[in-house]
Amino acid sequence: MAVLKDVEKEKLRQLFQGLMEPVTLLLFTQETECQFCETTRTMLEEVTALSDKLSLTIRDFVADTNEAERYGVDKIPATVILGAKDYGIRFFGIPSGYEFTVLIQDILGISKGVPGLSEETLTMISAIGTPAHLQVFISPACPYCPSAARMVHQFAMASDHVRGDVVESSEYPHLTVKYNVSGVPHTVINEDHSIVGVLPEKDFAREILKVLGVKWEGADVSVK
């Protein structure tokens, strides 16, 4: 059954006219599809059918363990967005509700090759020299979440050291317990640092630098 309305498809078609470089969406699912795997696959099939610059590759999480490992995929459904390279941009869970727009922003950003961050933020991000794993927990109905979700993907695009995961909280209750998430957006930096809520991009960059122990003038935002 189709999941995208015709009116949305039309809007997407117009937006996709601005696509430049090809973008591949890599979906990890499994033969007996998980609760939201099928809808995620149908949605991605419909989205990628709207432009010949877009393609969808489907991988079996159980059968293609090497591939899953290569992309750091440890749960499904997982959507990896690939452009000229793997920037480290991931959705775990269905990108629906407010996050659907983030998926489309990511596709356009990757295709154009621009993260869309300010010069000052990019300079700060360039100081990141060690791995930073950013996991932002979201709910599809939360209006504050898409800006946090988009930001971790922009950061991932801007730095080879950053991996940005958007995690749909309700699909992975064990992770919300593990990371003590009971409000969204909630961003986990390298397992043991958390930010609740949304920070402006410069403050977010400063926060990451602080967690990584990189000295930067004005790195004074508190971390919980």
């Binding site: 949305e8 109905a141 209006p143 003590n180 998430v181």
Partner: protein, 329 residues
């Protein structure tokens, strides 16, 4: 979880015209909720040279799951309604600055100067303040510490985390009861705590919550402390008559005790009430000629989407009349 819809917020993709610092606008609208967006549509249709400065688009509507009282829709999801509003506004090509919280507005001769948090400065002949409201905090110990770790203000966002848990909802009005309904849906055990006597929510909402038989009601009690370690574990409430305190074991507390007007930036140009609402007359005029107010940030009775949208329209038409009467356009 229901599968949420796949609807695009097309506004984030459109390159809106930049708001210019060198220009003197006929009208600058501050805010991005229904009041501001409706004002923008009316202002644009009068072909005013106008601009919009806002923190974000949508305001409180974006936080609402189901809206059952917006004319023409028996029920509409807040996000979808915001998408339709923003698309309508963007179609006029109005220069807009988003992410730009206004920190001050001052009067300079016949003009107004608007300053944003990132030091943007804009000049206009008239202003419409439509900055709405934000959640009122309890201001009790533990509230800040446990934010996102038990303390929540947005039921649409966070109710699912309290599946099967014990939760306190502070408040006694429509928002508190709607939150209780959202929490009951996920199987939470709810205690409603109201600082005043009785309950102020609409009768039908109260009925719905009472019928569930799963909610404890505690009026005349105020929350005095939120306790916990990694996560909130208890809420201490005090009986306002006897002064006795009691501890309610709870993993969460939703704070729904009303809203505070976002009017701090306008205190130098417009009279406000003791609670911070901008005083407006029935044409949305304030104490300063040329400075108008619309929607929840003002004294207009009944804070609703349809009322905010109506007020926005009225404010834009008032601003237009003012500009004409002064020979500004």
């Amino acid at each position: 979880m229901d599968i949420e819809t796949f609807a695009l917020d097309a506004s984030v993709f459109e390159e809106s015209k930049e708001l210019s610092t060198g220009e003197t606008y006929d009208l600058l609208i501050i805010g991005g909720g229904p009041a501001a967006m409706s004002a923008a549509v009316y202002g644009a249709r009068k072909t005013l040279n106008l601009g919009l400065v806002t923190k974000d688009f949508g305001g409180q509507v974006g936080e609402t799951s189901a809206i059952d009282n917006w004319l023409g829709f028996q029920s509409v999801n807040g996000r979808d309604l915001v998408n339709q509003f923003t698309e309508h506004v963007r179609a006029f090509g109005i220069p807009a600055k988003t992410g730009g919280a206004v920190t001050a507005v001052s009067r300079e001769g016949e003009l107004f100067r608007v300053t944003t948090v990132d030091e943007g400065r804009y000049v206009a002949k008239t202003i419409i303040a439509a900055t709405g409201k934000r959640h009122r905090p309890l201001n009790v110990p533990g509230e800040r510490e446990f934010l996102g770790r038990g303390v929540a203000y947005c039921a649409t966002c966070d109710a699912p985390f309290f599946k099967g848990k014990t939760v306190v909802v502070a408040g006694g009005g429509n928002s508190a009861f709607t939150t209780a309904v959202d929490l009951l849906k996920v199987g939470a055990a709810v205690t409603l705590v109201n600082a005043v006597k009785g309950w102020q929510a609409d009768e039908y909402l109260q009925e719905r919550v009472r019928q569930s038989g799963a909610v404890r009601f505690l009026d005349n009690h105020e929350v005095s402390l939120i306790e916990g370690d990694r996560q909130a574990t208890a809420v201490v409430v005090k009986n306002r008559l006897s002064g006795n305190a009691k501890k309610i074991d709870a993993q969460g507390i939703f704070i729904e005790i009303g809203l505070v007007p976002n009017s701090e930036a306008f205190r130098d140009v417009a009279d406000t009430t003791a609670t911070g609402e901008i005083n407006v007359d029935c044409s949305c005029r304030t104490s300063t000629a040329g400075f108008f107010g619309a929607g929840d940030v003002t004294t207009v009775p009944y804070k609703q989407i349809i009322i905010a949208a109506g007020e926005g329209a009225k404010a834009a038409l008032s601003a237009y009349d003012y500009l004409l009467s002064r020979g500004f356009i």
